[in-house]
């Protein structure tokens, strides 16, 4: 078990290191920072002084390790827009993002998994067809179309809910619903197929043959086995909590991390973009790690094997 954990942790750190390397390489490929900050026709001495001040005249590998060291110290550079530390800028947006992402996650899990299980258990029934139709709709209707149609109906025509901003608790309703519905659809579709696969297994037939009540077959044999692939998808959703709302936040002018990312990208505010990239990668890696641990809990065979 210890070895299994160490292996997973090592892989997680390696992935983050890869992302940092990617950011460094892309940053250096994208042009000379001196040219970006200073003017093209700045005097040669000024450019040389700038390059020296920022360590750009050192060999590339020295720069690479310095870059790594800075990140380990939590120094992620300053925003080009207002000179504030990029990390602080990103941190203050996190609560707003979580305020819609967490309730949306609840909808996804609370609606998607039961719907998928019910659809699989009543295969071919009206419930199954309705769930599948909703699932396909959830996958094919992009969140910005769904969000804007919801705004059109509930904010513009009916006037029940605000169309955007963060003025009242009600403003969160439409973003949460938009975000939650798409995820619930994906999860329902996935849970259904995982459940159907499990229900076709011989051990289900065995359990039924020896007279175990159907309710117990489902609870004791089918659900735990279908949980393993489902947990993977839920883990991916938890991992993309920070970044999953980029489009939805923009539709509803919600001041979260996603909207900051979009403005930073259009202003080419590299320090902020890079900071968000790291934040997203680390949440993703962390949640994958948790999923791996959960596998051990859910599947005793995995515990024994490692």
């Amino acid at each position: 078990m210890i070895r299994f954990l160490a292996l997973r942790l090592g892989r997680a750190l390696l992935t983050i290191a890869l992302v940092v390397t990617f950011a460094f390489v892309v940053l250096r490929l994208s042009g000379d920072p001196a040219m970006l900050i200073l003017n093209v026709d700045a005097p040669a001495e000024a450019i040389a002084a700038f390059r020296h001040a920022w360590g750009l005249d050192r060999p590339l590998w020295v720069q690479y390790f310095a870059y790594f060291g800075n990140i380990l110290h939590g120094d992620l550079g300053q925003s080009m827009r207002d000179g504030r530390p990029a990390a602080a800028l990103v941190m203050e947006r996190i609560p707003a993002t979580l305020a819609i992402a967490l309730p949306a996650l609840l909808i996804k899990v609370g609606l998607g998994i039961p719907a998928g299980v019910q659809a699989a258990l009543r295969r071919g029934s009206l419930t199954d067809r309705l769930v599948m139709a909703a699932a396909v709709a959830g996958f094919t209707v992009p969140s910005f179309v769904l969000g804007l149609v919801l705004v059109l109906v509930f904010a513009v025509k009916l006037g029940w809910l605000p169309s955007g901003g963060q003025d009242s608790p009600l403003s969160a309703v439409l973003p949460v619903v938009t975000l939650g519905f798409g995820g619930a659809a994906v999860l329902a579709r996935f849970t259904r197929s995982a459940m159907l696969e499990v229900l076709g297994q011989p051990y289900i037939r065995t359990a039924m043959a020896k007279g175990v009540p159907w309710r117990l077959v489902v609870r004791g044999h089918a659900l735990p086995n279908a949980a393993i692939p489902t947990v993977t998808i839920v883990g991916f959703m938890v991992g993309s909590l920070m970044a999953g709302a980029v489009v939805v936040e923009s539709v509803f002018s919600w001041p979260g991390v996603g909207r900051l990312l979009v403005t930073a990208v259009s202003n080419r505010d590299l320090a902020v973009v890079q900071c968000i990239l790291l934040l997203v990668a680390s949440t993703m890696v962390l949640s994958n790690l948790l999923v791996d641990l959960l596998y051990g809990v859910l599947d005793p065979r995995l515990r024994a094997a490692r």
């Binding site: 996958f139 513009v156 159907w214 309710r215 970044a243 973009v273």
Partner: protein, 286 residues
């Protein structure tokens, strides 16, 4: 559940799925529009009609001159829609083709070389799968700025890891089978073995995988264009139209509802077709 419901052992499948036929019909129509957009469109996409700004569509108080209405500058929504369909499809086709080519090549390379080449490719696949693609795409756009060739190449990175994983798995399997060994014994080089013998044998699975990622590319492109970070004006795409139409949501919702409906119908049709193809050709794909 108190009564015993026996799970059915095999899936019931209608012999001719009406939904797949309808999806095929819609895709054919969209393809025709994409090819003949310039012949079909009644106006130029940047042609202003300032006296007819924000004109509603036919049936909502509009005239036959602008069947889908006009936008804030009096540009014909129908004309812009037709050209947008062409651009969005062109990007989705180009991107899917690039991703399939890149993924298959890397997958074959991993299967052929084994050793550290394979390890490196597998590590890249894992790293790619660990990050949401939208974030990666946004980061690249921030670092490099936006241009059409870069944008298409970037979209072409979408889904390569899935194709690579499938191609590698199938090629490893094929290598173990008699026919690949037989041609190799006859003196064929690796290129000939993979291109002429292995590829035709696994093509159906790869085509299904590409069909399944096609609608995702459309959604990704329209999402980025919606954010104003994809296709730039004066060019137009479906997402781009929705993004600009958003500002007129209260006064002229038709500007964004028409492209919105086209995006939904197209992604829906292609995924229905993809699911159907998968069931027909290769039920093993997830």
């Amino acid at each position: 559940m108190s009564s015993t419901v026996l799970p059915l052992p095999t899936e019931r499948r209608a012999p001719v799925p009406a939904l797949a036929a309808m999806a095929l019909l819609w895709i054919a129509a969209v393809l025709c529009v994409a090819v003949f957009a310039d012949q079909l469109r009644p106006y130029g996409i940047t042609q202003f009609d300032l006296r007819n700004r924000l004109a509603p569509p036919l049936g909502f108080g509009g005239t036959a001159a602008h069947p889908l209405g006009t936008d804030e500058l009096g540009r014909d929504v129908l004309s812009r829609l037709l050209v947008s369909v062409r651009i969005s499809l062109l990007i989705a086709f180009g991107a899917t083709a690039i991703a399939a080519l890149l993924g298959t090549t890397l997958g074959f390379l991993a299967a052929h070389r084994r050793g550290w080449t394979e390890a490196a490719i597998l590590m890249l696949i894992d790293a790619q799968a660990a990050l949401p693609f939208l974030i990666l795409a946004l980061a690249v756009l921030a670092f490099f700025g936006n241009s059409l060739p870069l944008f298409v190449c970037l979209m072409g990175l979408y889904g390569w890891e899935r194709h690579a994983r499938i191609a590698r798995g199938l090629a490893v399997q094929a290598d173990a089978q008699g026919y690949a060994g037989a041609v190799r014994q006859l003196g064929a080089g690796p290129l000939r073995v993979y291109m002429r013998h292995v590829l035709p044998n696994i093509a159906s699975t790869l085509i299904v995988s590409a069909t399944l990622s096609f609608p995702e590319v459309i959604l990704l492109e329209s999402g980025l264009s919606f954010l104003g970070l994809g296709i730039q004006p004066p060019m137009t795409s479906l997402g781009n139209m929705i993004g600009y139409g958003r500002e007129y949501l209260t006064r002229a919702p038709w500007i964004l509802l028409a492209p919105g409906a086209v995006v939904v119908l197209t992604t829906f049709s292609v995924s229905v077709l993809g699911d159907w193809l998968r069931d027909r050709l290769d039920p093993t794909l997830g």
